[in-house]
């Protein structure tokens, strides 16, 4: 009886292919029988699994069919031999091909990884889909004035109270306090006050302590693992007391793991929020006009955040009054947790955010380089078709089908791709730390663990294989045996045209990248060479220590100042609440002229300064006078910058002098107007500033030092300790601090430059290979021309022009493209360069020169050949 087998048909097929026929039937019968038995006892699924393992067990050499007809293995062996021989015979082309591909792949690999990292911030938080940060936008008379990452204090509280869609919320606010333990002071990088449910909210597992009670009480604190180690060493931190600002004792109730780099959050210490309430007032939970509070809300799953956000405006109008919501509108925006890193760059972020545009820009650049490398491969392989033509002819005569030849060439591509891939992986591991330095991260290379990344990489590899393998395979396998074996073979015009088009594309990409690099660097230079209107050279800035009582501070301060007065390396010093290089962190709304109506008030940045601040920083006064400590009631006077004067509605600076302003209930007199200067980087427009007179020291000492900088630093540090004991001596040089603002641009420029260089390298490799091949094909033509009297110069022009032509075409196409791209980029800047002709001409000339020198070696060699040598075998 013969019936259909009931075991899986593919496994029986497999065994039929694999096993010796003499024992096959017995094996299949046994499998079938045991399959049926198992099915009755163990169910279909387990049976199938068992069955699969059983079948796998039979795939051993003992049962293998030894057939003379199977030649798959022999075929691949032959392919491999042919490939290796071919590579060996043409070492030069092979190495160009492999190297070019490897560089391209390495570039693609690095970019892919970088982009992957940027795109996966905060994905480690389990409940990420439902967590949103409430971002606060503030408007003045309908005009957007400030966008806060850390916004209104009450936002989270009221959202949670009034909307059933909100499951819970947590709030945080930054702390500037200093801590000490056992009379030793410790530098904190990111201390915050955090709501009691913080750890539960973000599902952060605690190393020590219990998450539901860790931050429940006032005067409790949670430490990061590394900070706990720094403070307590091997001691158990739990229950220990640390001192805040020499005054308050906080009990350590939890230790949390350091948050991953790929998070928009970074904390080393979290006080309980109730402590903040204790220091300030209950208002810090509910106040709408107090910014600087990070609010996170967790929505019930399934809630549409857009629909929820639509209800905010009417709700706020009702909550804070129609008039206020018209004049000083508050807008609340729900930022999805995982989007914060790339799409948010607002005031008071926890740490610097990334940039979506840059990330995608990079992705495109990386893909460019990858494409250039693939194109190289296609070009070199098809161009060298001639040397393979005879092989193809012979194979066809001996009976190869076209499909088999395609298979062979695909196998070759695969082989080369694998080699290149291996080299690329090696490159990446070696180069990655340097690359990370470029993009401003200092983590060593680790292989990403996410399947997504590897699938992406696999796809890139596969795509490369298809792009680089298929076309050459089809071209090469298409030769007619009769014509190639007769030696009448010439490469087709269409193939030549395609190669030209591809080379043009390569150079187009290169030109765009070089122009881009050029523009980025020019813009950088332009920004840095701007007149800042403020002198920041040879200035050392020291953060003032924090004392709980002003009187203690002023005594210590006087001691320190005394030291500074009596040293020749110190030319001058001043104190202020902020220094140039950042936005002053005091942002105050509701300020207006005494004569104005409340609805006309505005937001300003406030900078508290000592009397000599303007003189110290070389600020120019347009009108009125600077602060003067010999005057009596200087505390009730203010200085404005021109932008602030304009915002108050004055046309001329003079008009503002002696006008009164109302600032949070107090009246101030405008005594002077300072010319606009670059408090922040020239990237931004001038911000309206108000200077208030702060004779006491809080914030920063700015010290102008003489050229003996090291001596000055030593002196100041020694006397710092004499004056303030072991309080942390935290200082920086102002020009470095100021230039940090250009970090993103510097980074962008370096990456741009790096990949432009890679692109040009790979493109030139391709050109080099192509030139060497094309000129060798034309050696006979050159011989004939020489015999007929052509000079070397004419020949050089003839041979070079072929390539230069392509480069010129690519430049012509690239110019508008790069103009468009770079205009787009420059729009990010308030101050920007104009894109003149020179910006496009310089890279163009550079590229032409590079192209000419790349092909020169070969053209020169060919042009100099003795015609007798090239023509004698005709």
């Amino acid at each position: 009886m013969d019936r259909k087998p009931r075991i899986l048909s593919f496994t029986s097929d497999l065994l039929e292919r694999f096993c010796k026929p003499s024992i096959l039937e017995g094996i299949l019968g046994d499998l079938e029988e045991s399959y049926l038995e198992n099915k009755e006892i163990k169910g279909a699924f387990r049976t199938n699994i068992i069955h699969l393992f059983q079948v796998l067990g039979f795939l051993r050499p003992r049962f293998r069919k030894r057939s003379k007809h199977s030649n798959i293995e022999a075929m691949f062996k032959n392919y491999l031999i042919a490939t290796v021989r071919n590579l060996k015979r043409h070492k030069f082309y092979a190495s160009i091909n492999i190297f070019g591909l490897a560089v391209g792949m390495a570039a693609g690999f690095m970019i892919l990884q970088y982009v992957y990292q940027e795109l996966t911030y905060d994905t480690f938080i389990p409940d990420k889909e439902n967590i949103y940060r409430v971002q606060t936008n503030r408007y003045n008379q309908g005009e957007l004035s400030t966008q806060w990452a850390a916004g209104a204090a009450g936002a989270g509280h009221f959202l949670n109270r009034d909307f059933p869609e909100v499951k819970e919320f947590v709030n945080l606010t930054q702390s500037r306090a200093q801590i000490s333990y056992d009379k030793k002071y410790f530098e904190l990088s990111n201390p915050y006050y955090a709501g009691k449910n913080f750890f539960k909210f973000f599902s952060i597992p605690l190393l020590r302590g219990v998450d539901s009670i860790a931050l429940k009480e006032p005067m409790t604190v949670a430490l990061s693992e590394s900070l706990a180690k720094k403070i307590f060493g091997d001691e158990d931190p739990m229950g220990k007391m640390i001192k805040q600002n020499d005054a308050y004792d906080f009990k350590v109730t939890a230790v949390f793991p350091d948050l991953p780099e790929r998070s928009h959050m970074k904390f080393d210490l979290l006080y309980s929020f109730d402590s903040f309430v204790f220091f300030t007032s209950e208002d810090s939970r509910t106040e709408w006009n107090w910014d600087g509070f990070l609010n996170y809300v967790k929505l019930h799953s399934g809630v549409n955040p857009h629909l929820l956000a639509e209800k905010f405006d009417p709700w706020l109008t009702e909550l804070i009054g129609e008039e206020d919501q018209t004049n000083f509108r508050i807008e609340l925006i729900l930022q999805p947790l995982t989007k914060i890193h790339l799409t948010s760059n607002y005031r008071a972020e926890i740490k610097p955010t990334g940039d979506e545009k840059t990330t995608y820009f990079l992705l495109i650049i990386g893909l460019f380089v990858l494409f250039i490398a693939w194109i190289n491969y296609v070009n070199l392989t098809t161009a060298r078709a001639l040397s393979r033509a005879k092989e193809v002819g012979i194979r066809k005569v001996l009976g190869s089908h076209r499909a088999q030849l395609i298979g062979q060439f695909l196998f070759e591509s695969f082989f080369l791709n694998v080699i290149s891939f291996t080299i690329a992986a090696l490159f990446v591991v070696l180069i990655f730390p340097t690359f990370n330095g470029f993009v401003g991260k200092s983590i060593p290379y680790t292989w990403p663990d996410a399947p997504f990344f590897w699938v992406g990489l696999g796809l890139v590899f596969l795509l490369g294989l298809i792009i680089s393998g298929f076309y050459p395979a089809f071209v090469l396998s298409n030769f007619k045996p009769i014509s190639v074996l007769k030696g009448k073979f010439t490469s087709s015009t269409s193939g030549n045209n395609l190669r030209r088009a591809l080379v043009t594309f390569q150079f187009l990409a290169s030109v765009v990248l070089i122009t881009g690099t050029f523009v980025v660097y020019k813009q950088m230079y332009f920004l840095q060479s701007q007149d800042l209107g403020v002198k920041i050279d040879q200035t050392m800035v020291i953060k003032t220590p924090v004392y709980q009582s002003d009187s203690v501070m002023s005594i210590k301060d006087a001691v320190f100042r005394n030291f500074m007065d009596s040293n020749p390396t110190i030319k001058d010093y001043t104190t202020s609440s902020a220094v140039p290089g950042r936005t002053p962190n005091w942002n105050a709304g509701g300020i207006r002229l005494l004569s104005q109506d409340d609805s006309e008030s505005n937001q300003y940045r406030i900078l508290g300064a000592n009397a000599n601040f303007t003189e110290f920083y070389g600020l120019e006064l347009v009108s009125g006078r600077a602060f003067d400590k010999t005057f009596g009631s200087e505390e009730s006077n203010v200085l404005l910058n021109e932008a602030a004067v304009a915002q108050m509605g004055f046309k001329e600076a003079e008009e503002a002098i002696n006008q009164k302003i109302l600032f949070w209930g107090d009246t101030f007199n405008i005594v002077g107007v300072v010319k606009n200067y670059r408090q922040e980087s020239p990237k931004q427009a001038y911000d309206p500033l108000i200077f208030r007179y702060f004779p006491s020291t809080s914030g920063f000492y700015s010290v102008k030092v003489s050229s003996h900088i090291a001596d000055a630093v030593d002196y100041i540090q020694a006397n710092w300790e004499a004056a303030f004991g072991n309080k942390i001596f935290d200082f920086f040089f102002l020009d470095d601090y100021y230039n940090e603002q250009y970090k993103a641009e510097v980074k962008f420029g370096s990456i741009f430059g790096l990949f432009a260089a890679l692109a040009i390298l790979v493109a030139c490799l391709g050109l080099f290979g192509l030139a060497s091949y094309n000129t060798s094909l034309r050696s006979k033509e050159v011989g004939v021309r020489k015999v007929l009297g052509a000079s070397i110069q004419q020949l050089l022009t003839l041979l070079t022009w072929d390539f230069v032509k392509l480069v010129v075409v690519s430049i012509v196409i690239a110019a508008p493209l790069s103009w468009w791209l770079m205009t787009n980029w420059l729009n990010n800047f308030e101050n920007r360069i104009q894109l003149g002709l020179a910006i496009f001409l310089t890279p163009a000339i550079l590229i032409v020169l590079i192209a000419i020198s790349t092909v020169a070696f070969h053209t020169f060699k060919t042009a100099r050949l003795n015609p007798a040598d090239t023509l004698h075998d005709e």
Partner: protein, 110 residues
């Protein structure tokens, strides 16, 4: 010559073939060993051992006895060959001999 010695598993398989006598095929051998020796061996291992024993000339095989449970496929039935019988007999005698030579005290006092 290679293969004149019997491995333990080989011996077990041969004994099972002897026990099953008329119905000694892969799956039956596997079950026999499992029941008697409490040893789980995979079906592919059984086939591997029988094929090795065939090479040594201790077993012979024929096809017979198709059943519906086997999808109509015949069983590959094994039989001990003359040299196979001799080999396990020799094995048993050798063991008996060794047992006999063992003083009783070696087993009783431990």
């Amino acid at each position: 010559m290679k293969g004149t010695n019997l491995g333990e598993l080989e011996e077990l398989v041969m004994l099972s073939v002897g026990i099953l006598y008329d119905d000694a095929y892969g799956l039956a051998i596997q079950k026999e060993i499992k029941e008697r020796c409490k040893r789980s061996i995979t079906i592919s291992t059984v086939h591997s051992v029988t094929s090795r024993l065939e090479e040594k000339g201790y077993l012979s095989a024929r096809y017979d006895g198709a059943t519906p449970e086997r999808g109509g496929r015949r069983k590959r039935l094994f039989q001990l060959t003359t040299s196979g019988k001799a080999a396990i007999t020799r094995m048993k005698e050798m063991r008996d001999e060794m047992w006999k030579s063992m003083p009783e005290v070696a087993l009783t006092n431990g």
